[in-house]
């Protein structure tokens, strides 16, 4: 019986080797996908059990983890509540996470590959792992000015440093208090989440980067840029500007705001921008053609589904396959043209930076718990949107808008501000969206900003970009220049 006993021993050995192989399969080869499985609450528990790194703006933590005496060990707190909700997002046991809490999660938890050696050291010293600190580019004064300006109104503000692409302010209203979602009671957190999902104004969604709006007259900057880039136009070139423009092959017409005239049958391009003459830009758009407009829009960042700051920015759209009537409407930012507030801030930023568009970014530095720098974002060129001469011409035209045109509400004593208003028609019967995009100082820009006040905000049907949005842009510019 010894021969079969020996064979039986071999069989048991094979069985055990198979067990070791399958354990290895689960714990080594499959571990990554199992650990990231959305049904695996362990990852969340483990992160709560460790010190999650803070999110910092201007040297202050706008999200941090404090030790508490419950099974999780740490509570995420947001000292400024809804002021930074568009930047930090939330971190919740019941509802997951959003914005920087989501897109910088690997750094905040310390699981990023860049933190490998920190982790190994923590492992060897038996220290509880700590996440890295994410330092944002946000300038708290600018953020507060934007938030105060939007108070009580739905909308968004994005401010960018034109020379680098650093995002100085990013506000979305209505915001939400991330603290209520971070509570450790799953049922309470879930109830709060449901309430926010149903709340008016969609507070959980970032209006600054995740919503698209008709850009209205602010899009005239793109049309003007396309005209100047074509080589056939200068700021002084006369363009047709009838009081009403009958659209080809239709009976529809385009008029000017309030039905006013643009001051003659022909005005200069600069004058058309200063008074935001619709008929002039509509006919200009038809002359330039769809391709020229779309190519110009794309150089400013339209049609880029990959843009992240590191949160993904919704793709802005300039439609194609337009008939002349649709083209005329699109040239003035109506019809199916759709842009995010971030995109319009990029347009202003590119003009401010001599035509060179820098890629916007929100994370400046990532620091490990011992303060060593893990990574620092270097500014990157997104595109050369327009030539320097076009940028210079557009700047002069935009200064005219603020000095004596539709954007006078953005004037600042002693500072030349370049801007463009927009009052975008939405659906019939709804107040228009009020836009303003600007940069300053015009000769050495330090900040470019885009503001949208949804559906006229507190001004309702009386709202225009100049009245509702320009003062907010002005406050943000002042805050940046004062710092």
């Amino acid at each position: 019986m010894n021969t079969p006993l020996r064979r039986l021993a071999t069989i048991t050995l094979v069985m055990f080797v198979a067990l070791m192989a399958s354990a290895t399969w689960v714990q080594f080869f499959q571990a990554e996908s199992l650990n990231t499985d959305p049904r695996n609450v362990r990852t969340l528990y483990r992160e709560h059990g460790n010190a999650r790194g803070p999110i910092v703006a201007g040297g202050e933590a706008i999200a941090s983890s404090v030790p508490v005496d419950d099974p999780f060990g740490y509570q995420r707190v947001y000292p400024q509540g809804d002021l930074y909700s568009a930047v930090t997002g939330f971190y919740s046991i019941a509802n997951g996470r959003s914005e920087l809490e989501k897109y910088e999660n690997d750094q905040l938890t310390g699981r990023s590959d860049q933190l490998f050696f920190t982790r190994i050291r923590d492992l060897l010293t038996g220290k509880r792992p700590e996440g890295a600190a994410v330092e944002t580019t946000i300038l708290p004064a600018a953020q507060q000015a934007a938030f105060a300006g939007l108070a009580g109104q739905g909308g968004a503000v994005v401010a960018i440093e034109p020379s680098s692409g650093r995002i100085l302010a990013m506000v979305s209203t209505p915001g939400f208090d991330p603290n209520v979602l971070a509570v450790h009671s799953t049922s309470e957190a879930a109830a709060q989440y449901r309430a926010l999902l149903q709340a008016p104004g969609n507070p959980l969604r970032s209006h600054a980067i995740q919503e698209r709006y008709a850009p209205g007259s602010t899009f005239k900057l793109v049309t003007a840029a396309a005209a100047l880039e074509s080589g056939s136009y200068t700021a002084d070139t006369a363009v047709p500007s009838p009081t009403t423009l009958t659209l080809p092959q239709t009976s529809a017409t385009i008029g000017n705001f309030g039905g006013s005239s643009c001051g003659g049958e022909q005005v200069s391009l600069a004058e058309a921008l200063r008074i935001s003459c619709n008929t002039a830009f509509a006919s200009l758009g038809m002359t330039l053609g769809e391709d020229a407009l779309r190519e110009q829009a794309e150089r400013f960042g339209f049609h880029d589904p990959e843009l992240t700051v590191p949160m993904p920015v919704v793709e802005s759209v300039f439609p194609s396959g337009l008939d002349p009537a649709q083209l005329a409407q699109s040239a003035i930012g109506q019809r199916d043209v759709q842009a995010s507030p971030m995109e319009m801030a990029m347009v202003a930023s590119a003009i401010a930076n001599g035509g060179r568009l820098m890629t916007p970014f929100l994370v400046d530095t990532v620091r490990a718990a011992d303060l060593t720098v893990v990574s620092k974002t270097e500014p990157q060129v997104f595109s050369d949107a327009v030539s320097a001469s076009t940028a210079s011409a557009l700047t002069q035209m935009m200064v005219g808008v603020v000095d004596s045109g539709t954007g006078k509400a953005a004037r600042i004593n002693g500072v030349r501000v370049a801007g463009k208003t927009g009052t975008a028609q939405t659906v019939e019967g709804q107040p228009p969206h009020a836009w303003f995009t600007a940069f300053a100082p015009a000769d050495a820009p330090r900040v470019a900003v885009a503001v949208i006040v949804e559906n006229g905000g507190s001004m309702g049907n009386e709202a225009t970009g100049g009245a509702a949005a320009a003062p907010i842009a002005r406050a943000v510019i002042e805050a940046v220049l004062a710092s």
Binding site: M1, L5, A31
Partner: protein
């Protein structure tokens, strides 16, 4: 002219005592680390725990010195280590349960009590069962006992259905899973029956398609017992135990008949049976779904019969990764039944792949020592019993760990020595005691009086001595080739009148292949020799 000369064998009790130090150390250190990791402080009762487990292990050791001095010195330390690891993990999970106010918080203390009871019963087996062959007298008693134990949970008022399986018996406050004890009874019955019928089973019968089929009247009783167990277990929905008994049956049948055809027949029967069961019984089919599509959302959230528990276990093991979270630092309490069926997942989480493989290696050594005992022991009954019991341990582990790691469908069995549960712990300690008892027999050197000068039957020295090069290698006990015909007395082998070879005893060794002469001679080779003691028995085939 040839003389067989047993090389010197040490009883091994010193080695055992030495090995018990790290074995106990693992359990005690683990206990402290689990407390530190989970609560940040040393468990308050650690001294009592350390003293208690040490005393228990030492008592077994002393009993072995008195009653089974030649027993394998590795078996007890491994069992102590595994039991300690299990206690550590159960203690660690009980801390988590206590923190969350769960009712299972008392499992650690109860398992400690069960450990004491198990050790006491193992000692009783070692003390009162002086010779494992005594058990052969109870072959049919064992059969009846096995059947009664298996049927017990179906008795109204006695049996209890827990988590869909009716495998529990409750009398007053004490609950038990009779199947754990039935496996021992079955191993005794299979060994006793097959050792008597092995030749008729192996040789009589038709050949069909190159397979030697046994006669029905030889195979009948054993098939009947096995089929009855299976039928009842199917009624109880206890797939794991059915599989375990089937594996035991096939393995012992193969050992007894030495015919590979049994493995083939067994596998065919099994695959067919599994297929039929999967198609017929909803709960069996569900297990297959869970196995094949565990991570599908639909299967994951199906209730009942979903893969939730399995997947939570996989999550736990993945969380442990290569080196584990550390004792007390994981979340094994997130896995349902992590203290019993899924203790392997809990160990994988907190000790990592490294720890899990170390534990599997402990089992590998334990099983190989058991099979080594089977090879070494001289009587057929002992071989079958030791082989069967060792295989049961190995197969049970395979079914559990294979189920938890998704190598095979999950069937629900306890991990020997590790998992929470009185019946399982007691039964496995009794298995260990039986293996120790048989190994005492296997390793005891044949007394010098048996090393008689043999008549010259023309076997060249090289053939008789081929199991070990003459005077060579690591056989330190061998002092050289003795002069032909000189009886050799091995110095320190105790001469006992009750030595098995002389003891015709109540149970004669009925190996029909026994001959005088060469075979008798070779049988006297020491059990610890690394070669077959009866490799010549094959000549009669």
């Amino acid at each position: 002219m040839a003389t067989v000369q047993p090389h010197r064998v040490r009883p091994g009790r010193g080695t055992e005592l030495l090995l018990l130090v790290p074995a106990l150390g693992i359990g005690i250190a683990g206990y402290v680390l689990a407390g530190l990791g989970a609560t940040g402080s040393v468990p308050p009762h650690v001294i009592a725990y350390a003293v208690g487990t040490t005393v228990l292990a030492l008592v077994v050791h002393v009993v072995l010195r008195l009653r089974a001095p030649w027993a394998d010195p590795v078996i007890l330390p491994i069992v102590v280590a595994l039991n300690g690891i299990g206690l550590t993990m159960i203690y660690r999970i009980s801390i988590a349960y206590a923190e969350r106010g769960r009712s299972e918080a008392g499992i650690a203390d109860r398992q400690l009590a069960w450990t004491a009871i198990s050790v006491a019963l193992a000692i009783a087996v070692l003390w009162f069962l002086r010779d494992h062959r005594t058990l052969r007298r109870y072959t049919y008693t064992a059969m009846v006992a096995a059947l009664v134990l298996i049927v017990l949970p179906l008795v109204p008022g006695l049996g209890q259905t827990i988590n869909g399986a009716r495998i529990w018996v409750r009398v007053g406050p004490v609950g038990m899973q009779p199947a754990e004890f039935a496996k021992i009874a079955l191993a005794v019955f299979f060994a006793g029956y097959l050792v008597t019928h092995r030749d008729t089973l192996a040789l009589a019968g038709k050949r069909v398609l190159g397979l030697q089929l046994p006669r029905a009247r030889d195979l009948g009783p054993i098939i009947l017992v096995w089929a009855a167990s299976l039928a009842v277990l199917v009624l109880q929905r206890d797939l794991g135990t059915s599989l375990l008994f089937f594996g035991l049956f096939v393995a012992v049948l193969y050992l007894a008949t030495e015919r590979t055809s049994w493995i083939i027949i067994g596998l065919v029967l099994f695959v067919g049976g599994a297929g039929v069961a999967a198609a017929t019984f909803g709960h069996v089919g569900a297990r297959f779904d869970v196995w094949l599509h565990a991570l599908d959302d639909e299967i994951f959230s199906r209730d009942p019969g979903g893969s939730g528990q399995l997947v939570y276990g996989l999550f736990g093991m993945a969380n442990g990764g290569l080196f584990g979270t550390g004792l007390g630092q994981g979340r094994p309490d997130l896995v349902p039944f992590s203290y019993s069926d899924f203790i392997v997942a809990a160990l994988g989480e907190e000790l990592g792949l490294t720890g899990l493989i170390a534990i599997l290696l402990l089992y590998t050594i334990l099983v190989s020592r058991g099979l080594r005992t089977a090879i070494g022991v001289r009587d057929g009954f002992g071989k079958l019993l030791a082989g069967g019991l060792s295989f049961v341990v190995a197969f049970q582990l395979f079914v559990v760990v294979g189920g938890v790691t998704r190598l095979i469908p999950l069937t629900g069995l306890t991990t020997p020595f590790l998992a929470y549960g009185g019946s399982s712990l007691v039964a496995n300690w009794i298995v260990a005691a039986l293996l120790l008892r048989i190994s005492d027999e296997a390793r005891r050197p044949v007394p010098a009086v048996r090393a008689i000068p043999t008549p010259d039957i023309g076997i060249p020295l090289s053939a008789a001595g081929r199991s070990r090069p003459v005077g060579g290698g690591r056989s330190t006990g061998r002092t050289g080739t003795p002069a032909a015909g000189t009886p050799v007395v091995v110095g320190d082998a105790p001469i006992r009148t009750s030595t098995p070879a002389l003891d015709t005893g109540p149970v004669p060794d009925d190996s029909p292949t026994q001959h005088l002469g060469a075979d008798a001679l070779l049988q006297d080779e020491p059990a610890t020799d690394e070669h077959d003691t009866d490799h010549r028995g094959g000549e009669t085939r």
